[in-house]
Symmetry: C2
């Protein structure tokens, strides 16, 4: 494993390649912290997720609590950059520093090449980060982030914030092991987290907190599973009775709420992919429009026999297109049981008239919904059952969303479809028995060797289904395990250890979980056998 890590070509100041070192030297059985006040394993890099390329020195430098921002490039003066700088200043300087000190770093320079702020799939998120003491000799004084887009600059700011830590001895924020030179870019363009607001309503403040925490691990897609059979919380202006399917009059999202979430996410470089899960998970739609049900006693799948059903879908997509600018739109399509169709007289009659089986009608529904989406310039994403059942009959633009198990993306990309990896055995956050190692060791490209086929795998997504996750526990169910998947999705395979991860990765994840806690994200203990459990006994955050 040693020496596989590429040294950055762009600098040649004789820095150590410390990731190489960490692969070579495994510190067996190291116990951190408790009563020992020991340092962390110094051979590891405490950044999460790991950057593509880095080199560093061995100097400690201090950072001015009045850190100022200098911008450059066509895109540097963006409000996205300026607001992010303010956020990160609050994150970095949570403690009062000792007064009257002289600091090594007083300024951060952010240079953004482009002023195009469109946040599309595959937007350039690469960045370079240099942190060095201004010594009058170096041309790289202070901290500098260079990026092609504002979104790359955001990623660089996050990395910079993780280099900074408060030292309780000097009472100042310090960067250890400076100077740093980092070149970084994501491995996959789609790095998602699913939130389910149908099984439990999540207040917009909670959704925002989840989005904020996603930015800490460089995830870039919130898959908002807004609606399901249990409740329909979103306002749809074209069909204003739809949100009568909400649990209560307070468990709703107005159009303005949703716009605010999209804007909040965009400011953090995160796209919002909305979903309507049709036809199988639509019972709540009928609370406002009972005609959408096959019958009041047999409520799903949505009635395939009525034009009205597709008129409603079309209007929903139009209304949601005005809220969600992301080009991917999830149309669901999973877990369709057609019994209600064959057992409800008027639907049964329609099936017979069109000479369709239940399966035929399922395909008819999926393809018609896809066609509606495509006319609205949306790229349809569907759960894997649609691909498993209908294969190349699907619209060629379809993105297949894996969930049932391994092996689906290889088959989907073989047929030329793009794919998102969410194998429930390793990336379903509501499966509490999947430990962090399960999330970490998974591989979206498993079984796909051909480079051009690999390109069809957009990335992956961890799924936070909401049956037992509400505003009280959703964050500790997500974190820290989602961070393990986030590193898999961001970091090049070559820079992440595959062996002895309890030594090579665990100390970094323990450290990162404590970082989340300091940022008010209630990430659960790392080492518990079951996720989101309380700590079993007293002790240091860095050990639990």
């Amino acid at each position: 494993m040693s020496n596989e890590f590429p040294i950055s070509a762009s600098i040649s100041l004789g820095f150590l390649c410390i990731l190489c070192a960490s692969f070579g030297v495994l510190v067996e059985g190291r116990i951190l912290g408790l009563k020992s006040n020991s340092d962390l394993d110094d051979s590891l890099v405490y950044l999460w997720p790991l950057p593509s390329q880095l080199s560093h020195g061995n100097t400690t430098i201090s950072v001015d609590p009045h850190l100022s921002l200098e911008v450059g490039g066509k895109g540097g003066d963006s409000s996205i950059v300026r607001e992010a700088f303010q956020r990160y200043r609050d994150i970095i300087f949570k403690h009062s520093s000792r007064g009257n000190a002289v600091y090594d770093i007083t300024n951060i320079k952010i240079i953004v090449e482009s002023d195009n702020e469109t946040l599309h799939l595959g937007v350039d998120e690469s960045y370079s980060l240099y942190v060095a003491k201004q010594d009058g000799l170096s041309i790289l004084g202070d901290a500098t982030i260079e990026a092609n887009t504002v979104y790359g600059a955001l990623r660089g700011l996050e990395t910079f914030s993780q280099l900074c830590s408060f030292d309780y001895g000097t009472k100042s924020v310090e960067v250890h092991k400076a100077p740093w030179s980092i070149q970084d870019e994501p491995r996959f363009v789609f790095r998602g987290l699913l939130l389910d607001t149908s099984r439990h309503y999540l207040p917009i403040s909670v959704i925002k907190q989840v989005i904020e925490s996603m930015s800490y691990v460089k995830l870039n897609v919130l898959h908002w599973h807004i609606i399901d059979e249990e409740s329909f919380p979103l306002e749809i202006p074209s069909y204003p009775n739809l949100w009568k399917g909400a649990y209560s009059k307070w468990e709703r999202y107005t159009v303005e709420d949703a716009l605010e979430i999209v804007e909040f996410a965009k400011m953090r470089g995160i796209n919002v992919m909305a979903e309507i899960d049709v036809p199988g998970h639509g019972a709540s739609w009928g609370a406002g429009y009972p005609d959408l049900w096959p019958s009041p006693t047999c409520q799903e799948p949505l009635d395939v026999s009525k034009n009205f059903t597709f008129e409603v879908i079309s209007s929903i997509l139009t209304d949601m297109r005005n809220i969600f600018p992301f080009e991917l739109f999830h149309l669901g399509g999973d877990e369709v049981n057609t019994d209600c169709w064959s057992s409800t007289p008027h639907v049964k009659q329609w099936l017979q008239m069109h000479n369709m089986t239940g399966k035929d009608a399922y395909q008819y529904f999926v393809l018609r919904a896809q066609a509606i989406a495509v006319t609205k310039n949306l790229t349809p994403v569907n759960w894997e059952e649609t691909f498993n059942t209908f294969q190349e009959n699907l619209h060629p633009q379809t993105v297949v969303h894996n969930w049932l198990g391994p092996g689906v993306c290889p088959r989907a990309v073989e047929k030329g479809f793009r794919c998102i990896y969410s194998n429930q055995g390793v990336w379903y956050l509501d499966h509490l028995d999947i430990p962090w190692e399960g999330f970490y060791n998974s591989e979206p490209l498993e079984g796909i060797d051909d480079a051009s086929a690999q390109k069809l795998v957009l990335g992956g997504e961890v799924c936070m289904w909401g049956e037992t996750a509400d505003a009280s526990d959703v964050q500790q169910t997500i974190w820290p395990r989602a961070a393990a998947a986030a590193e898999r999705l961001w970091s090049r395979r070559e820079v992440t250890p595959t062996e002895n991860i309890r030594v090579t990765v665990l100390p970094r994840l323990l450290y990162f979980r404590c970082l989340l806690n300091r940022r008010e994200i209630p990430a659960a203990p790392v080492k518990n056998e079951l996720a989101r459990r309380p700590p079993a006994h007293f002790g240091s955050c860095y050990e639990q």
Copy 2:
């Protein structure tokens, strides 16, 4: 129970006394929300804790999202008031309102009689709140809070914020059942929550969030159990090695951190009562100064035989007095096992020289620590074992802190001591099997009938011991059960129902828990058999 609720004498506009109504009319077995979109039980008042006196009408009025503040009185222009107004504006207006509307309430007037901002025990927290539509006839236009101190004004703002709710239909913030007239004051002067940062370190951001949430239920004392045998996180300038007893170099509080927490709490009308739990819970002190241990292998109680021990205690109290202005200071004194004293040769020799038993030495230690505190103008608070063992030998200023069970406060006040009620059977938050009803039905004055004796009960405190509560779960272990105790401590006994509380109180607590969630406080489901458990299945917040 009906008609026991006093009508406010200060207004006579013919409002309904709705609490009277709610006591008389019990809605049996009402199921809220799920799929029904039903309203709440309209006979209840959805304020937590219930005010002393209130009356209201039946009009809905709207509140301007650009609500402005007008101040009056000598204390109105305080930064405490102005910053609180900004906080509550953010809380009240979390959703975008429909534009161009005309609002009934555009202004809130806060009149504060006194400019004395000293936050001492028993500070006046009373307030009056009027909310009425400006109609050109009434002299009580808009919203008005009148208070003797800024801290009363804070309580009034909290109540005002709970009267406001966002209506998803009109897309504006509304006050229902206006006009409102409320006169309110606390039942007890000491309404506390204990936080334990020794068993698990809590980042300052988390402590601040807990303080913020305390203000939502009008709790007014954070009992900061900073240090215990497991870790010593606080910086003590006089003895700078003491915080070597921290779990790690990052799990610490600087003096500046602690000052910031005290200031943050004061801005919310909350005192911080610090504790050093001597001599029984002091093992972590010896990490920095091993001389404080009887011996390296027998580490507590702190060495009673050395003057050094009391020099350190004295210096700690001096240093902490500079951080914590609150007059009450907790000296612990619980769970003292003197075996280490009698088994360590030099301590054993000292005992023999002074003709002391272990119990004598325990008393000697407690009284000497109390004497040190009193010389520094601190009022000593001690856990009940000190009273149970030494009775009137304690310093007469001692506040006895109950925890072991019922019946202690009656005995303490009989001896003339003041008392704080924390009966572990009902008010220990780490006892996960105590349901909200247990917290709600408890009574600090139980067994004390004499009015002058009752006055010696300062109030009570719920205790969040940290063995299994860290930054990931402390808030859902605290909430919503602490709210049940908070109503007991704030609201006059006569205004809180005692019977059928699953009908008279539970709907209000369910509503309040969802309010906490909307304010980003991850309060756990109310109805689970064990506290802080996830919701058992999908459903509405208002039912779980």
